[in-house]
C-alpha cells in the first residue's frame, strides 16, 4: 500500500502561495489607473498579438500578468459570461463587480482544489460616469479580491511600482499625465544600479476605457497616437488626440 504523507493545510497553502507568487514575480508588470476621462491600462509587453490588456464589455476592461495561457482562459471565460449576461438580460446588467466575484470564486476554487494554482494576477476595471465612480478590482491567484482606490500595479516588483503611483497619482489627471506617470513608474524598477530604464512605445501595451463614449468604451492606443502621447509636448502645443474607432459603436440591441 502506498504511504500517505500528511501535510497540514497551512503547509499546502503556503507552498502553493509561494509557487504562484514566484511565477507572477517573474513576469513584466502592468498598471491600471483612473484619469479624468476614463481608466488607463499600461502593460509592459513586447508582443503585439498576445495581449495583456483587453476588452470585456461596454465599460469593463481586463488586465493581467503571469502565465499567458491561464489568464487568457480567464479572459475568454469573462467575455463569455459578460456577453451571455448582456444577451439574456440587458447591457447595463453586466457589471465589473459581478465579473470580479465570478473570477474570485473561480480562482479560489482552483487554488484549493487543483494541484497547481493559477500563476496570475488580474485586474477587472469598470469605468464610471466620474473618476470617483471608477471601480478597480485586484484579483490574486488565491481568489482574494481587493477594491483598489483608482490605481494599481501588478506583476514583478508591483510594490515598488505601486509606491510611485501612490505618491503621485491624482484622480483628475489628464490622459497624457497619467500615461507619463505609468511609464515612469514602470521604468523606476529593474534598471541597473537603481537607475531608471527607458521604455519605447513598441514595448508598451496601452488602452483606455473612455468614459465620454457611449456603448463600447474600450480602445487601444497604438502606433503614432501612442508615440505622440509619450513624447513630451513642446511648450504651448497640446498633444495629438489619440485615434479611436468610429464614434458609433454597435447599438445595444
Amino acid at each position: 500500500m502506498a504511504m500517505q504523507f500528511y501535510a497540514s493545510p497551512e503547509q499546502i497553502t503556503r507552498d502553493r502561495s509561494e509557487y504562484a507568487r514566484k511565477g507572477i514575480a517573474r513576469g513584466r508588470s502592468a498598471i491600471v489607473l483612473s484619469y479624468d476621462d476614463g481608466v488607463l491600462f499600461v502593460a509592459e509587453n513586447l508582443s503585439k498579438a498576445l495581449h495583456k490588456v483587453s476588452e470585456i464589455y461596454d465599460r469593463i476592461g481586463f488586465a493581467a500578468v503571469g502565465r499567458y495561457n491561464e489568464f487568457e482562459n480567464l479572459r475568454s471565460a469573462g467575455v463569455r459570461m459578460a456577453d451571455m449576461r448582456g444577451y439574456s438580460y440587458d447591457r447595463r446588467d453586466v457589471t465589473g463587480r459581478g465579473l470580479a466575484n465570478a473570477y474570485a470564486q473561480t480562482l479560489g476554487a482552483i487554488f484549493s482544489d487543483q494541484s497547481k494554482p493559477f500563476e496570475v494576477e488580474i485586474c477587472v476595471a469598470e469605468v464610471g460616469a466620474t473618476a470617483d465612480r471608477d471601480e478597480l478590482y485586484r484579483l490574486t491567484y488565491d481568489g482574494s479580491v481587493q477594491d483598489e482606490p483608482g490605481r494599481m500595479a501588478m506583476g514583478g516588483q508591483a510594490e515598488a511600482i505601486g509606491g510611485v503611483l501612490k505618491e503621485r497619482h491624482e484622480a483628475g489627471m489628464s490622459l497624457e499625465a497619467a500615461l507619463h506617470l505609468a511609464v515612469e513608474a514602470l521604468t523606476s524598477v529593474g534598471g541597473e544600479n537603481g537607475a531608471p530604464r527607458t521604455l519605447a512605445a513598441d514595448q508598451l501595451e496601452v488602452a483606455v476605457l473612455d468614459r465620454r463614449r457611449v456603448g463600447r468604451t474600450f480602445r487601444r492606443i497604438t502606433g503614432a497616437a501612442l508615440t505622440a502621447l509619450l513624447t513630451p509636448p513642446a511648450e504651448g502645443t497640446p498633444a495629438a488626440a489619440p485615434d479611436g474607432p468610429p464614434a458609433d459603436s454597435p447599438a445595444a440591441g
Partner: protein, 279 residues
C-alpha cells in the same frame, strides 16, 4: 439556472473550456435554451405575431445606406407605428429585418453579440463576407420555424474595410429563408412586403457612385413608393413625427441619421409628391 450563472457563483465549466470564438456555438453548448432555433413551434404560427415590412439598401460612393419604414402589422391591423427595424450590427455593418418582428429582433441581437463576441475573443473583426456567412447560418437555423409561419429575412449591408481599390466599398447581401446568401451587385436591394415597389422605384432612380445626400433621398423616395402601394408599409407620418430610420456605414463607421435629418428629407419628398404623386 439563471443565464450564465452557476449556483456557486463560479464561472461554469463550459465558460473556461477552450473552444470556439462563436457566441452562437458557445450558447449551444452552455445554454441551448437561449438560442432561437431550439424551440418547439406550434404547427401553424401564421399571423400570431407582428410582422415588420420594408427595408431598402443602397450602395453609394462612400459606403452603404440601409433604411426602413416604421410599421409593424398583424393581419390587417397596425401593431406598431414606430418599430425600428434597421440597426448597426457592429462598427461597420448594418442589418435590417423583415418578417416576424419578435424572431427578427432576437436574431438581430444574437447577431450583434455574435460579431462583438468574435471580435473580443479573437482580437480582430470578422471580414464582411464572414459576417454575412455567419448571418446566413443563423437564418438557416430558423428554417423550421419559418415553414410554420415565423419567417424572418434580413438585409445585411456593410462597409468593406478590405475592398479592393476601384470597387464600391459598400456591399449589400440578401438572404432567403433557407439560408441562401446572395450579394447584390446591382448596388441596391429591398426586402419585405413593399420591396416590389421599392425596388421598382430604385431601378429607375439608382445611379452608381451617388453622393450620400442623393442616396438618402433615393432611399426615402423608395420607401414612400412602397408605402404608396403596400398597406403594410408605413409612409412618413408627418402628424406624429415618425420618419423612416436611415443608417449609413462608411469608413468612419456606422451612423444613424437624426430624426431632424430624416424629417427634413421626408418632408421634401412629401412636398415633391404634392406636385407629382408618382414621384
Amino acid at each position: 439556472m439563471a443565464a450564465g450563472l452557476d449556483p456557486s457563483w463560479r464561472l461554469p465549466v463550459a465558460f473556461a473550456t477552450p473552444g470556439t470564438s462563436s457566441f452562437t456555438e458557445f450558447l449551444n453548448m452552455a445554454a441551448p435554451d437561449l438560442l432561437p432555433g431550439n424551440r418547439a413551434v406550434p404547427r401553424s404560427a401564421e399571423n400570431v405575431a407582428p410582422h415588420g415590412t420594408t427595408i431598402v439598401a443602397i450602395s453609394y460612393r462612400e459606403g452603404v445606406i440601409l433604411a426602413g419604414d416604421r410599421r409593424a402589422t398583424m393581419g390587417n391591423l397596425i401593431a406598431s407605428r414606430d418599430i425600428e427595424k434597421v440597426h448597426a450590427a457592429d462598427a461597420y455593418s448594418l442589418i435590417g429585418i423583415a418578417g416576424t418582428a419578435g424572431v427578427g429582433i432576437e436574431l438581430m441581437r444574437l447577431f450583434q453579440v455574435e460579431l462583438e463576441h468574435y471580435e473580443k475573443i479573437e482580437g480582430a473583426m470578422l471580414s464582411l463576407d464572414g459576417k454575412a456567412n455567419r448571418l446566413a447560418t443563423m437564418i438557416r437555423g430558423n428554417l423550421g420555424a419559418a415553414l410554420q409561419g415565423l419567417a424572418v429575412i434580413p438585409l445585411f449591408a456593410g462597409f468593406d474595410l478590405d475592398a479592393p481599390t476601384g470597387r464600391a466599398p459598400g456591399r449589400i447581401f440578401s438572404f432567403d429563408i433557407a439560408g441562401g446568401l446572395y450579394e447584390e451587385t446591382a448596388g441596391y436591394e429591398a426586402i419585405g412586403s413593399g420591396s416590389l415597389f421599392a425596388k421598382s422605384a430604385l431601378k429607375k432612380r439608382y445611379a452608381a457612385g451617388a453622393t450620400q445626400a442623393d442616396a438618402i433621398r433615393m432611399a426615402v423616395e423608395a420607401l414612400y413608393d412602397a408605402a404608396d402601394d403596400d398597406t403594410a408599409t408605413g409612409g412618413p407620418d408627418l402628424i406624429r413625427g415618425i420618419y423612416p430610420v436611415v443608417m449609413t456605414a462608411t469608413a468612419e463607421g456606422t451612423h444613424r441619421l437624426t430624426d431632424d435629418e430624416t424629417a427634413a428629407v421626408a418632408r421634401a419628398v412629401v412636398e415633391a409628391r404634392n406636385a407629382q404623386p408618382g414621384g
